[in-house]
Amino acid sequence: MNLYTFSSPVNFYQLSGKLIPWFMGGAVVLGLLGLYIGFFVAPTDFQQSEAYRIIFIHVPTAWMGMFIYLVMAFWGAIGLAFNTRMSFMMARALAPTGALFTFVALWTGALWGKPMWGAWWVWDARLTSTLILLFLYIGIMALWSSIDDVKRGDRAGALLTLIGAINVPIIYFSVQWWNTLHQGASISLTKAPSMAATMLVGMLVMAFAAWFYSIAVAFIRVRGIILERERQTEWVKTILEND
């Protein structure tokens, strides 16, 4: 087994099949543990009372939403540069998970915003740029779904992800700049009260759960994509007959 083993669809299919249960199991265990810490162990915040506990879901999902976009841009760049089939498949498999996390981050952000700011939605810099990130995810998936040719779709999606990745920091900066000028909503998530150690632990555990979940789900999706794309080949036919 060498570095290229992983980049061949056959090997990847078999290896990922063995890994999925572990990642999925890890995600469940860590998720339960994280929620337990978040809801029962972590102390009540004296400023925000119990409502703050939603950050144990909000923050890790927001992290993952952004991180998965960067990973997609990475795979897209690799695919464009080296013409590797697997990297395009990885990018495609990750997008729905990234969009889901971004959506959950927005949703929980709104739930948190109601008790904190008295409004479901505030045009805060972070919320706004997370919303735009969701738009980018939706745009990429819409582009994929409207291109029938697989190869063209892969490359077009990768190019769009890349220009989005270059643009995301600029968008983030411009939204923050815009936000400081319109002082209406100056309460920012950055000024969260100093965190107790248990809170941090809970959040990290939840972040790891999100990681494991993303990997497991992305692997499941990649396996589906591999079967679909390689259905002409002998090894897929053998697998399908045995099942």
Binding site: D148, D149, V150, K151, R229, R231, Q232
Partner: protein
């Protein structure tokens, strides 16, 4: 396969969607030669031509021009090659002369007006010179496209069904043009369903299908 082949194809494979159209295709074309690509509908004739122009990317294998892969000598290859596809590349809002002027400009060359008018007249468009191409018939627009082809003075012609929509006179004219081009040391790759009268021309036939069988005629 001769050493003086300018265009050569090595182990070429092409897929459309998931269907493999052909693989392990090898051939070469030298100066003064015509390669006639034959095969039924949907067997990959057009795909092969688009691969040869560099528009499409091969599934495997390589295309070389003057011994160098075309991706590495793109500018030089494009300067010496001209492609005429199913669509004419003729703008309906412009008249034939303007069409030729912009076609030349987009190839990065200076426009020789006299020569362009001369060519259009030779192709029987003398009376349409100042009409927008919108009002021309399909065959006449095809002739405008052929004028652009001649004006470009390229070494290699890649022609996808050049005879579609042409009347008997125009077909004879086209045959003459191809003969002249080859006699002057040019080369051509063409697909066609129609029979061509090409006496005295060195023709190579290539059958495109699931298995490529190049045979010399």
């Amino acid at each position: 396969m001769s050493d003086d082949a300018l265009l050569s194809v090595h182990d070429l494979a092409c897929a459309r969607g998931e269907r493999l159209l052909f693989k392990d295709m090898n051939f070469s074309v030298g100066a003064g030669e015509l390669l006639l690509v034959q095969g039924g509908n949907g067997q990959g004739k057009t795909s092969l031509l688009r691969l040869l122009t560099g528009l499409a990317r091969p599934e495997a294998g390589e295309i070389r021009w003057r011994g160098e892969p075309i991706r590495q000598c793109r500018d030089q290859f494009h300067a010496e090659m001209i492609y005429l596809g199913h669509a004419n590349g003729v703008k309906d809002d412009l008249d034939p002369i303007e069409n030729l002027r912009f076609a030349e400009g987009l190839q990065g060359r200076a426009f020789e007006r006299e020569r362009a008018i001369d060519l259009l007249q030779r192709l029987g468009l003398a009376r349409c010179l100042d009409l927008p191409c919108r009002v021309l018939s399909f065959g006449q627009r095809r002739r405008v496209a052929l004028s652009a082809l001649l004006l470009a003075d390229a070494k290699l012609w890649i022609l996808d069904e050049p005879l579609t929509g042409l009347d008997v006179h125009a077909v004879a004219l086209m045959e003459g043009l191809i003969r002249d081009h080859l006699a002057a040391g040019g080369m051509a790759v063409a697909t066609t369903h129609q029979a061509l009268n090409l006496e005295g021309v060195q023709v190579q036939r290539l059958l495109v299908g699931n298995v490529a069988i190049p045979e010399m005629a």
